[in-house]
Amino acid sequence: MAPVEELEAAYLAAREDPGFQSELAGLLRTYAGRPTPLYFARHLSEQLGGARIWLKREDLLHTGAHKINNCLGQGLLARRMGKRRIIAETGAGQHGVATATVCALLGLDCVVYMGEEDMRRQRLNVFRMRLLGAKVIGVSTGSCTLKDAISEAMRDWVTNVADTYYLLGSALGSHPYPMMVRDFHKVIGEEARRQILEAEGRLPDTILACVGGGSNAIGIFHAFLGDPVELVGVEAGGRGNHLGEHAARYRGGAPGVLQGAYSFVLQDAHGQIALTHSVSAGLDYAMIGPEHAYLHDQRRAEYTAASDGEALDAARLLSRVEGIIPALESAHAVAEAVKRAPAAQDRILLVNISGRGDKDIDIYRENLKELDEP
């Protein structure tokens, strides 16, 4: 408890400190590339024939995904707390790359825990992290994915708590992490709200974002919580509806406690956490972030799922008609837009493109073999 209490106190002080906030804002602007554009997807909208679809381009940020927002914030916080060693978990590798990047920038030591299955799926990101000076430690327990990497990072943290900062990458874990991660990503929604009002003169009808732990989704939802705007989180529907074939927590999950958080989690009848599957490593996690579970219970947000196949099709469509290759995670949000747009005449859909697809090229190649002939 003492370490999370220390962290909470340090974060609350930093949040109120104009010096901290202005350094963070400066780095977001000059280093990460904020604000990101809001782009009207004219061809996608025309092709689907219904809604007007806008894309929030978090994929254009430095390191290729929204994850850098949170890493810059927590990296500055770690430095302020005098912690020289940073540890992190990563699923798809995007959070690991963003953490390694920020550690290189701030001159901090970096250790990233990554499931061995994910290391295989995301080899390019493993190499990027090493190139940035991070040490990547493979985790071979459990399902060898994100969940196991988080457990291993937590074990490291409780062991080396005096000099180590745990830079958690999703809206998960024990307080204050979900709050802190949300705060560092809420800039996504604040920008998007301003941009859509400027461009369309009104708020969107619906916002769509993929949800693993839920950091990009909570980041874009937060500024719209008080608005009459429909919020939709898209979970990983995987390859089937049975436990173990997907990571859609609202398809068979139940309240539970995992890794310091109380939220909705996929588990068996005896309270053992279930294995999950998704073509997208970043969504392949058994628990949804606790604030999303709250929004679900309050009926303020709705959660649905896109299958592996639907996400792959959506990624292919977006690439072809807009010239944007999305991350597989973000492709789940696009897939939901594809389903909704035809029946949503004159409505505005805002989709968060949380990351770009470069890291997923190997998976796209495996799944789109007809494009990969010599």
Binding site: T141, G142, K147, V161, A162, G271
Partner: protein
């Protein structure tokens, strides 16, 4: 008085120190656990911590993680662990402390667990991933069925937290010897002495220390400081290395005796 409180009263009366042994229930199979517990008792273990296997044991090192995986593969559930406890209780009066993560307990139901655990002859519970600050409902359920609640104090615990741990623990207080997860270490951390001293100022409850204790010399070192030591991973590793060895029980008994000898005359 619970069996746990009775044990510590007896140890005190006799001027002895206790040895608490942890096993993951169901490792390598549910059928085997009662015999392993008997071996520990023959070797001189005074209290058994019966671990409920969990898929994501964040407080445990690799040895106990692997034991949990074996136990889960062998079909061990919380309900099964209660059955195992009942079987042990039919043969022995050794105090039993259930060691578990929160999620299987939530799934089983807190009141139902307290009632069933008491009926099976379990004497207390240690919920490893629940903070004492948020444990009111759990404490109420356990105490209303006459079960002890044991909480952990760590070298990082603040004075306020030590106070809470002391107030809501019954039976004994579990002192964590160092920051980190379960698992053997070559030498003990220097953090334990000041922690024990702080806790002694707060409470008259018996104190046990665990995490990293695996050798008779560790037991010797701690004998003068606390009322009991907890050994876990060293037993579990011995089991892991002798999964198919018919002399496992004999070895477990011998190792328990060897550890107990660490106390020297005080044992």
């Amino acid at each position: 008085m619970t069996r746990i409180a009775g044990l510590f009263a007896r140890l005190k009366r006799e001027g002895r120190k206790g040895l608490i042994a942890y096993l993951t229930a169901g490792d390598p199979s549910p059928d085997r656990t009662p015999a392993l517990v008997e071996a520990l008792e023959r070797g001189g273990a005074d209290l058994i911590e019966l671990g409920v296997p969990f898929s994501d044991p964040i407080a445990d090192g690799p040895v106990i993680q692997r034991a949990g995986e074996r136990a889960l593969k062998a079909g061990t559930t919380l309900a099964k662990v209660l059955e195992i406890a009942g079987e042990i209780r039919r043969r022995s009066e050794i105090p039993l402390l259930l060691f578990t993560y929160l999620n299987p307990v939530m799934r089983y139901g807190l009141d139902r667990l307290a009632k069933d655990a008491a009926a099976c002859g379990i004497d207390g519970c240690l919920l490893i991933d629940a903070s004492v600050e948020e444990a009111h409902e759990y404490i109420g359920a356990m105490h209303s069925h006459g079960l002890d609640t044991v909480f952990l104090a760590a070298p990082t615990s603040t004075e306020r937290r030590l106070q809470l741990v002391a107030r809501y623990s019954t039976g004994f207080v579990y002192m964590v010897s160092r920051t980190g997860v379960t698992g053997e270490r070559d030498s003990l951390s220097g953090a334990i002495t000041p922690l024990v001293q702080s806790m002694r100022r707060i409470t008259g409850l018996p104190l046990a220390v665990g995490f990293g204790i695996s050798r008779p010399e560790h037991v010797a070192e701690l004998g003068g400081l606390v009322d009991a030591v907890v050994v876990g991973s060293a037993f579990v590793r011995l089991i892991e290395r002798n999964l198919d060895n018919p002399s496992l029980e004999i070895q477990l008994e011998a190792f328990t005796r060897e550890l107990k000898h660490g106390y020297g005359a005080a044992a």
